[in-house]
Symmetry: C2
Subunit: 198 residues, 2 copies
Amino acid sequence: MESIESWKTVSITKQLGTPIFRVDNAVRTNPHTGDNGTFVVLDTPQWVNIIPVTGRGTVVLIRQYRHGTDSITLEIPGGMVEHGEDPCLAAMRECVEETGFSSPVNAEYLGKVHPNPAFMNNECLMYVWFGCTLTAAPQFDTHEQIEWEEVPLNALHSLAADGSITHSLVLTALYYFALKYPHLAALPAQGANDGHHD
Amino acid sequence: MESIESWKTVSITKQLGTPIFRVDNAVRTNPHTGDNGTFVVLDTPQWVNIIPVTGRGTVVLIRQYRHGTDSITLEIPGGMVEHGEDPCLAAMRECVEETGFSSPVNAEYLGKVHPNPAFMNNECLMYVWFGCTLTAAPQFDTHEQIEWEEVPLNALHSLAADGSITHSLVLTALYYFALKYPHLAALPAQGANDGHHD
């Protein structure tokens, strides 16, 4: 179809290891010119996130301090898939750990995204978990401190529109939820992020 | 309001420099325990992306090879804001460079997101640019090879739902566009990413 071609990988060399990804240099050959170039790639585990929906028409959100932005954010539960773990089970595990909410039915797959195809090689898989109730106390990892709160389903997209939720992967999950379940949560009448105009 | 508190930064130390971000170690004090922890943070420039809309009711998308995923992706134009550059001008510049499309009116701000608050400190600002026409030949950076294509506005959200568009930041821009201009591009009847079930 198109004339855009893939590049041939010459080598992948580790530059730096960290607890959450490895920084590699990929040397690849430009298919149009034959020249080699070096590109930074983060070798990153699979991620998941999950929208917990209760039987009383609310969504469970979490609030936590984030070290990237040095700020407190409003998000849905999520995290890394452990080696060999089923992504759906990982999403449900993160939900239970971070909020204490769970449901007797399995979470439902909404779709997957590439967090950043330009320099990250991983996917984030997204789920919605219907029928959630508070069944346990949250169990935080070391250095995790999380508070949960419930918001009505009909307020969910307003939290994107007014700038209360800013994490791109959380917003992507809400978008997929809007695409799949437009009748469950109404889009607000107008205006994405109007209160945060630059 | 909440009991979630910010952490105090003890030190930020560069671990690795790359052309597109710097990898830092941030040492911070847990406000609840007083213990210090070390966290990886990418110091990353501001990003922009932009939805070019033509007068004939189409959106201009781009197809290019991406080194993170080692695959060819369908996206909207976007890139890095240069030092001191106005983000709106940066978005319009990227659109012209990558597609050759521009408009006599300025692009309109849709909102901003944090690409990943967990370990990245930057924002991505999103724009829509109405009235675009093909006014120049695209001008690619070294190693860039991009093809543009037009899709009807009413097909835009279907490209998210069917898994043709997977870049989280592009999907976020489409979500903001749906929130702000629900009448311009209809959401598909059903199903996010149903063709790509895991």
